[in-house]
C-alpha cells in the first residue's frame, strides 16, 4: 500500500512513530521519515498511525482512512 504524509500539516506529534515504528521514524526531535510504499504485513501499523495522527496528515490508499490518489495522482 502507498502512503503520503502531508508534511505541511504534520506537527511532529509522533503518534505515527509510536504506533507504526516499522514505517515511521523520527529523526531527531523534529523531522519525520517514513516508507512511502509498505507491504501488507505493515498495513495494521499504517492504519493505526493514520487514525491516530491528530492533524490528519497521513493519507493512505485502500479502505479505511483517506484517499491518497488525490495527492499523488
Amino acid at each position: 500500500m502507498r502512503l503520503v504524509v502531508d508534511l505541511n500539516r504534520c506537527q511532529g506529534y509522533a503518534q505515527c512513530a509510536f504506533l507504526g515504528p516499522d514505517v515511521f521514524r523520527l529523526h531527531g526531535e523534529e523531522s519525520l521519515l517514513y516508507d512511502p510504499v509498505v507491504g501488507a504485513e505493515k498495513r495494521d501499523q499504517v492504519l493505526a498511525a493514520a487514525a491516530a495522527c491528530p492533524v490528519g496528515a497521513i493519507l493512505v490508499d485502500g479502505p479505511g482512512v483517506r484517499e491518497v490518489d488525490a495527492v499523488v495522482g
Binding site: A17, F18, L19, L26, E29, L47, A51, A52, P54
Partner: protein, 402 residues
C-alpha cells in the same frame, strides 16, 4: 452576550453526569461565555482548538488541581519553554526518537492481561466492567511501564480517589467516608513516590521511573521534586482516563448492538472506533486549567487578560458546525479530528498507550463475551465532572468464547 450564569454549576451537579450533552448544547449557544464567577467557558470546536494553540493562554498561572508537596510542577502545569524541557526528558524513556518501540512492544503483555481478565468472566454470568476489567487492566500496564510494584496499587488507588473525589467543582455532594482527607492523601502519595524514586536511583530497573531517576539526556535530568511531580501526573493521568475510555467504550457498544456486532466481525474497525469514542464520550470532559496572559479575542468576544478559561472539550466534540450528525455515534466517520486528547503543546503524552490498551480491550470484549447486555442504563457515575465515567458498569452475558 447572554451569560448562562449557572451553567458550570449545572454541569458539576452529579445529576447531570449520565448525560451532560444537552447542557453542552446550551453552552454552545454562547461559544465564549462569561460565567457569574468571572470564569469564561469556550464550547465550540474551532474556538477551543485555536485557544489550545494560542501562546497567550497559559497552563502555568492557575494553581494545580493536585499540588505536589514540594511545590514542583508537572509538565501539565508548565508553559513553554520549561514545559518542553520537562516533556522531552520524560519522553526520552517512553517514545521516539530515543525509545521508539517501547509502547509498541507492550502489545503482547497487554493482550495477556486482557485474556486473563476475560477468562475470569467465564465463572459467572454477570461482571462489573469497571472493577473486573477496565480498572485492573491499565493499572497492570502502567505499573510494569513505570516500575511501580503492583502490590502497592491499593494504596495509590486510595490516594488518587481521595484527590480526585475531593476536588471542588462547585457542586453539593457528600464526601465519601472511605476516602482520605485530600491533603493527607497528597502528602502520603508524595512521600511514597519520593521513596520509590530513591529506590530506583539506588537499584535502577528497566522501567521509566528508573530512567527518570538515573539517566542524563541532552536536557539533563529532572530534579527529585520534579520527578515526584511527574510521578503524580503519570499515575493519575495514565490510569483514571483509560479506565473511563474502556468503560465508555463498552457502554457505548452495548447501547449500539449493531456496532458491537460489526466490531466482532471486523476487529480493524476498532481503530477508527476509538477515535469516534474519544469524540463522542471523551474521558476528559473539559480543561479547567487555562488562564489568559493577555486579552484574547475569540469569536468576536474579548476575554480579558488574567482570566480563567474552561475549555469544554466534550462540547466542542459535538459541535454541529464541525461534525455532521454530531450527536450520533458513527464509528467509521473518517473525519474525526476530536479534542479528546487536547491539542497543541500539551497534547496527551500517553495517547499511543491509551489507544493500544483500548483497542485490545474492546476487540477482545467484542470477540469473546457472548450476548452481553447492560444491567442498568444509565449506570452509576463518579462525581468528578472533569474525569467523567461510570463508577460501575454491571453487564450480564451468556458465557465467554476462548
Amino acid at each position: 452576550m447572554t451569560a448562562p450564569e449557572t451553567m458550570m454549576r449545572r454541569i458539576a451537579d452529579p445529576a447531570a453526569r449520565p448525560d451532560p450533552y444537552p447542557l453542552y448544547e446550551e453552552l454552545r449557544r454562547t461559544p465564549v461565555a462569561r460565567q457569574d464567577d468571572g470564569v469564561y467557558t469556550v464550547s465550540t470546536y474551532w474556538e477551543i482548538r485555536s485557544l489550545l494553540n494560542d501562546p497567550r493562554v497559559s497552563s502555568q498561572t492557575r494553581p494545580p488541581l493536585v499540588p505536589t508537596p514540594s511545590g514542583a510542577r508537572s509538565m501539565l502545569r508548565l508553559d513553554p519553554a520549561e514545559h518542553d524541557r520537562v516533556r522531552r526528558i520524560v519522553t526520552r524513556p517512553f517514545g521516539p526518537p530515543h525509545t521508539p518501540r517501547r509502547v509498541f512492544e507492550m502489545r503482547r503483555g497487554m493482550a495477556d492481561t486482557v485474556r486473563g481478565l476475560l477468562d475470569a468472566f467465564a465463572d459467572k454470568d454477570q461482571a462489573d466492567i469497571v472493577d473486573d476489567f477496565a480498572y485492573p487492566f491499565p493499572i497492570s500496564v502502567i505499573c510494569r511501564l513505570f516500575g511501580v510494584p503492583v502490590e502497592d496499587e491499593p494504596r495509590f488507588h486510595l490516594w488518587t480517589e481521595s484527590l480526585l473525589g475531593a476536588a471542588d467543582f462547585g457542586a453539593e455532594h457528600k464526601p465519601d467516608p472511605h476516602l482520605l482527607d485530600p491533603d493527607a492523601a497528597k502528602i502520603e502519595m508524595g512521600g511514597y513516590l519520593a521513596e520509590l524514586f530513591d529506590k530506583h536511583r539506588k537499584d535502577p530497573g528497566d522501567d521509566m521511573f528508573s530512567a527518570l531517576a538515573v539517566d542524563d539526556g541532552p536536557d539533563g535530568r529532572l530534579t527529585p521534586p520534579e520527578q515526584v511531580a511527574t510521578g503524580f501526573l503519570l499515575l493519575i493521568a495514565g490510569h483514571e482516563t483509560t479506565v473511563n475510555l474502556i468503560t465508555n467504550g463498552v457502554l457505548t457498544l452495548l447501547r449500539h448492538p449493531q456496532e458491537l456486532k460489526r466490531l466482532k466481525d471486523d476487529p480493524d474497525l476498532a481503530v477508527p472506533m476509538i477515535e469516534e469514542l474519544l469524540r463522542y464520550e471523551p474521558p476528559v470532559q473539559y480543561l479547567p486549567n487555562r488562564r489568559t496572559m493577555d486579552a484574547v479575542e475569540v469569536a468576536g468576544t474579548v476575554i480579558p487578560k488574567d482570566t480563567d478559561v474552561n475549555l469544554m472539550l466534550a462540547a466542542g466534540n459535538r459541535d454541529p458546525r464541525r461534525f455532521p450528525d454530531a450527536d450520533r455515534f458513527v464509528p467509521d466517520r473518517g473525519d474525526v479530528e476530536h479534542l479528546g486528547f487536547g491539542n497543541g503543546v500539551h497534547y496527551c503524552f500517553g495517547a499511543p498507550l491509551a489507544r493500544l490498551e483500548t483497542r485490545i480491550a474492546l476487540t477482545e470484549f467484542a470477540r469473546r463475551v457472548k450476548g452481553p447486555e447492560l444491567v442498568a442504563d444509565p449506570p452509576p457515575y463518579r462525581v468528578n465532572p472533569v474525569l467523567r465515567g461510570p463508577r460501575h458498569l454491571p453487564v450480564a452475558y451468556r458465557g465467554v468464547r476462548s
